[in-house]
Symmetry: D2
Subunit: 273 residues, 4 copies
């Protein structure tokens, strides 16, 4: 393994606590991030924000979408950013969105409370250096074929550039097993990353499975494995979603899931004492 200077457990006596607006992640603080894959229009994101405001700590929504095909919906861009920001403001939740281009880092950082680096860009070092040089916290998703060491070394690029506010996100890896799931959620990543690094670790069961039917069991499993939070895609009308509908929960299902997770986490926390 290559040397990990800044993100290794040895580098800090205590867990890093990442602050997103008024929300804390890590060091015992759990946070749930929820919202649609893409911001589709002003009403859509506002409705979803209202529906999840009591069951999530952070609102997500994509304005710039990395799509495999250049002909797929690419997101609303700056307009989407404005709708997301306003929806978050109305319900009092900080917001997170993906940034895909070096040239847009500053603009996106001005609009939102947390920047997401997507799986496809986990080793886009020019982008990592850019988000490391600004002051908003960063959500770094694991690449579909990235080892845990590579994930931590990508986080190291951000920390080395001056930004210590990084949350890691396991979101499924690409394996031979593709009949029932888009990816294989690697939950062993959670305890391993927490053993060797001081950074918070969350899990995205939506991309990790690609099937809303699997989100509840995998969300519970992720928290039981020790995750510091979850990122879950929620959409009021999954059938009409412009992207990732099949893996989105309806708001009422999401709220019901969070209630169950809260009870589960309470038991898990009791045991630690």
């Amino acid at each position: 393994m290559e040397r990990l200077h800044l993100v290794s457990r040895e580098a800090r006596a205590r867990d890093t606590i990442v602050q997103v607006g008024k929300v804390k992640i890590g060091g015992g603080h759990k946070a749930y991030i929820a919202g649609p894959c893409s911001v589709e229009d002003e009403t859509q994101i506002r409705e979803i924000a209202q529906a999840i405001q009591d069951s999530a700590q952070i609102l997500r929504g994509g304005a710039f979408k990395p799509r495999t095909s250049p002909y797929s919906f690419q997101g609303l861009g700056e307009a989407g950013l404005a709708y997301l920001k306003e929806a978050g403001r109305q319900v009092g939740l900080p917001v997170v969105t993906e940034v895909m281009s070096e040239a847009e880092v500053e603009m996106v950082a001005d609009a939102v409370d947390m920047l997401q680096i997507g799986a496809r860009n986990m080793q886009n070092y020019a982008l990592l250096k850019k988000v490391g040089a600004q002051s908003k916290p960063v959500l770094l998703k694991r690449g579909v074929a990235a080892t845990l060491e590579e994930l931590l070394l990508s986080a190291e690029y951000i920390l080395a550039a001056g930004n210590s506010q990084v949350v890691l996100c396991e979101r499924g890896i690409r394996t031979f097993s593709q009949t029932f799931t888009r990816n294989t959620l690697d939950l062993s990543a959670v305890p391993i990353l927490k053993q060797i690094s001081h950074l918070p670790v969350i899990v995205d069961p939506s991309h990790g499975s690609g099937d809303w039917n699997l989100i509840e069991p995998l969300a519970k499993a992720a928290m039981a494995a020790g995750a510091d939070g979850l990122m879950i895609e929620v959409h009021s009308r999954p059938d009409e979603a412009l992207s990732d509908g099949p893996q989105s929960l309806k708001p009422e299902k999401y709220r019901s899931l969070i209630k169950k997770l809260n009870r589960l986490v309470a038991v898990l926390e009791e045991e630690k004492q």
Copy 2:
């Protein structure tokens, strides 16, 4: 997907409950299987059996060991079988062991309460037909590169041969991610297998991780994902184990883990009501 006749959810209105001695698995019944990778001598298996008797429902121990190299310890064979049977009798637990050869199926079935088909033999159809033609229940482990459909079709071989008492076992798949774990435990397999089939599903976090440090978080995650039980390797002196020491829990750690799992499962069960 190829047609699944006997193991598909449609084939039975209710979950199959597999009976191992007096122990039930499936249909709401959870079972923990524990014991050493290999039966090493009469004292070793008896000591471990005594140490776990209150925290496990079934005792495991390998007498015939499938080893990658012909020069590795191959198990004690029939003597190991006798020690295992006697250790189980003394503590009142049914026993399970792997059978590797068609020629040994009857002998092994006479000695133990459940036959295990290992990951390497998941598609050894001659062996599957043989265990399908005898009356003891079968624990069928997923091959390291087997799809869930292939696992179910291997189970189908056993059911089609006349034996409906089959428990499926997820034990990790082989992926690019090999630095920190021997295999990648695929916990999405648990809810998927339970959705499409009526057979009970357990998880082996010992082989699934290869590292005793990871067993507790992965065991909790497996139960949270809906598993009907666990198979965990336990050894009194892991450092001296003839096989798989690094992934074995000491008995006191195992007992402590089961207490935590019992509380966790209680909360998970409450929610269902």
Copy 3:
């Protein structure tokens, strides 16, 4: 890596030459194995044998077929064996077929000139020991998720049991890449296996691709990478084949391919001098 005693390059100064009937493989001798996936009836195997007799050194044909589903065509069994043997006798080619069961090793060894161990049984150690204890040469196929070390250690089981006549076969591994091919043919396996072991290595581009369109380029590539031969599925009427039709070449295509390969191999051999 575990120690390789018998199959390692150090164990023998010279390449092993495996003798199948009057045909030699290894140590500079190239051999092409061809024939249908399954023996379907007496006429089918005889026609194919006649069509390839001048372009192949060994005739293949499955009598006992390992099928993922118990409801798929399982082969003609002993009758298939007799048809294969007779077809080989008529055209003067030695024959190879798969053996799946310990109980059938002797019967199959009596009927054919070479025993094949399929990919699913590469780590069926009871079967490996059995084929190691008889005198016919063995064609050992790599498992879909087997490392090269595991393949060699499985060969070691056969050699350690007394049979030194083993040919290794690369036939594609299971990876995330599944849209256009059934498996990913790992041609780097050829030079690596030849560097670290003294056993002959052949390649199966039919299973390695699953698509007859890809057989010609992959067959050429395999020979260019240094393979000692090829195993190619040939069927007179691929559309009506009971198994693996889409990856089977028609006889005229096969014969045309072999002519091209002969020229290619001649150039490759010249360069060595």
Copy 4:
């Protein structure tokens, strides 16, 4: 499969011929690209350029290096670019180098004859659009976990932005098989990509294996599979290389390899007529 508009075989009756300086790739034109992983100083790149000038058509050398760790050698940057350009000018070869940052596309395009998009950036869509909007040809490497469809859709981003001069490069995928090779070279990608698209396809056996010992057999295999060229790392003193020494050929080995490849290609071309 998602729709491929511009890169699909249907989109053009003829193979695309990509022009790099005076060199052609595709449509029957083969090209070998060679040079060091990194430009290390003025002398190093000049010496290598002189050593390969008669055996390569294009000179490669990294000035901006994507490194997993932020503490590894990151390349000489603009100085490296100047050394590469001058070395190419002296020996009369066009030059190719990787561009990693949107902000540097224009500067790099001014200095070199072909822009390389590395495997880590294959789905960096902001970068793909940028290189699509300038006029120099692009060498697009397949990501380590990219399907062939994803590779073609990334090429589609470049074509859709206005640049039709794209060469695809297979350079090994990430699989479970990691003991002897860094990656698994997927040579079936060559005939598949050429069947479904009109773009030229080359192969990089250096990254594809990670071991200079394997370059010769894999280079031959790649050409036999139908590749339009190769990219091979060459270094005068591999032991002292600042990056990728173990997978670099010495110039004399490289020249000897090219002679063999020329004879091989001559035979392969004859057969087509």
